[in-house]
Symmetry: C2
Amino acid sequence: MISETVYAELSTVLEGRLTRSKSELNQHGLSETWFPLTPPEVVAYPETTEEVSRLMNICHAHEVPVTAFGAGTSLEGQTLAAKGGLSVDFSRMNRVIRINDADMDAVVQPGITREALNLELRTTGLMFPVDPGANASLGGMAMTRASGTTAVKYGTMKENVIGLEVVLADGTVIHTGSRARKSASGYDLTSLFVGSEGTLGLITEMTVRLHGQPEAISAAVCSFDEITPAVQAVIATIQIGLPMARIEFLDAESVDAVNKYSGAEFPLKPHLFVEFHGSESGVAEQVEMFGEIVHEFGGSDFQWASKAEDRTALWTMRHHAYWACLALRKGAKAVVTDISVPISKLAQAVEDTAADIAASPIDGPILGHVGDGNFHAILLVDPNDPEEIKLAKELAHRMAERALALGGTITGEHGIGMGKKGLMAEEHGAAWGLMGQIKAAMDPKNILNPGKLVP
Amino acid sequence: MISETVYAELSTVLEGRLTRSKSELNQHGLSETWFPLTPPEVVAYPETTEEVSRLMNICHAHEVPVTAFGAGTSLEGQTLAAKGGLSVDFSRMNRVIRINDADMDAVVQPGITREALNLELRTTGLMFPVDPGANASLGGMAMTRASGTTAVKYGTMKENVIGLEVVLADGTVIHTGSRARKSASGYDLTSLFVGSEGTLGLITEMTVRLHGQPEAISAAVCSFDEITPAVQAVIATIQIGLPMARIEFLDAESVDAVNKYSGAEFPLKPHLFVEFHGSESGVAEQVEMFGEIVHEFGGSDFQWASKAEDRTALWTMRHHAYWACLALRKGAKAVVTDISVPISKLAQAVEDTAADIAASPIDGPILGHVGDGNFHAILLVDPNDPEEIKLAKELAHRMAERALALGGTITGEHGIGMGKKGLMAEEHGAAWGLMGQIKAAMDPKNILNPGKLVP
């Protein structure tokens, strides 16, 4: 509970930028998935690192739970105030501090969204490629180790965050990483914070790697009669080392959803959406080789989109696929779940998951970033029907166990939050205990996003 | 001190594979650089994870310091037994456990060297590209976050270790990572251990990423009249995004050393050694573009080596450069030091370092992996002359401070060990304290490589 005294103390730091307004509390207690409303007691909108440090200082002294909030687009309940307390909303810390063209990096505040950053980069010839679909904040993306459609070429947040400014549980401000392209100087604290879901500290500034805007881009769509040959075509493409920038799988049900939602007319069959980035000649070579692979696995209905507007339309459809799937059933919410497996096991993982969903009463389109062996099921449920939620969670649980049995991981990009904590022991065994030890050492009062990720 | 009782207890685990032979102790107390002999009290040669776990169990109970030993090629004293105790030599745990062709990864024991692994991979079409020059063990490379000539294209150990089996301070065995290409499942413990220099646990098994052997390779040597245009050519090459596999700088003194040691006849000027990997057409395109850049910056004496034997000769010369530099002065040892800076600051960092060395009585050839902004000075000293060692260490210290002032790091690849601990506070500030907290939580008795890296 945040007492009146603590509230008054927090107020002195933030003046008018602290609120208990019911609507703002609820907005910060909502999730885009099936989780019930879990509001904080107070929302703060800091504007500087110093303010965040002072907030943490006060919360540490009074043992107030603190949950960071970026754009609220996480999918496993990471931003929900599971133990109440303070939600620190970073939307006012959303500036680009510095773009270093020559070194291809940028220093930004955590509240900036990936679309806003790319808008600022537009004239530099550079881009920030990590693209989870949602217009997430960069701080949130770092904290969930987000990835998305382009990770197959450009890597995830793990590879693209090179330095951080972090406020620790007691308000101490630290800096991790450097702007050099590599370092062997001590523990890799940057990687420790990336993916820690706000349980070890709050990011107040970050240095990210930028990439050159490609000289040439070509995107395409093609369809297959069955899931298996579509996935096998992906595996073959990966294995010959063809450098795709994106390679997305959509099953027939996802395609149906996209058609209905975006007015497209794709045949109701499993599809691949792909994109190549490179030099004119490089892309041409890749396109030709990919065409041969698709042909070999019986793919058809090939459509190339070399014009920018066609590509934008294509990826907008893909990015709206989650909403398109939700729209398949009126009033539905989704238990969205993701796993990632070694490429060689991808066909088996997708097939077994599709069969498991087909045998259940739950509808669940399957789609994903198959170039990373990563795919999602969007399990549609009536949020007021506990039985449906239970069945969907059981499906998600079996999907995660399937990933582990195949040498994979219970989540490729959505993270743990509250949704997957129950699977951590199964994936990590004694290493989960070690995560808990590290958490306890860094946040002994357990005030940073309590109830998430660690034991 | 390892008492007779503890020695007897350790013996029950290892039978004949435990020794106090003077020559073996000394061999494990030697370094390739200037550090004085620092032998352990006992050397153990375990063959299984279980044996390592039992060793740690005993050492934990009796608070015996434990230092891991791979190939002994680290450069900052990482394998020296600073507090005596047990040296765990992994040379008998040197097997390839499994090669997963389809997923392009391999599970290996930590004692295998990179050359031995690549020999086993030769017929698979795959390779393990990380190449620090020395034929280091993979466990040691992971622990120092090694990189070397090919990191500019393939990444360092950070990017190429995807999973670990680790024995913790108390003997607990944990597993980190998975074989999926990405994961958002909890703290990135793999990255925490990579670069931890044996201070947090002992690696007993590791999963590494493999890469396709390139279809075409072309290597070249060219020279410049001055350091600056050579480095500027590298910066330009990086900035247009030309995907070099290797790009190495050697100053005139290094070239002199290589000529004398390897019987080469390069002109006594700053040189770049480069290599491109890719498809036939891709490499041809890259070679042409690189030629244009070199021409633009006034480079000359271009020699291309497309034949395998010429390339091997070239890179053997480069790999022997350290020994070549040592041979410049009879009986010399080296204070070898490395820094890494943002690419845009590379010319300044190299020039200022060269000027600083020129103004001192110490000889110090400069060379390095300039594609990562990373370079070395090999400061030649008489190991029996404390004054020379002091001057060399001061030069190294100023070089590190120069890196920090330019936004870089005190070491790009050699690590901290005992040699650079004194600079950690300067680079990391409060974050170094956090490293100490993590160490204390994971190894409360401070038995794992005590005296290195952390406060």
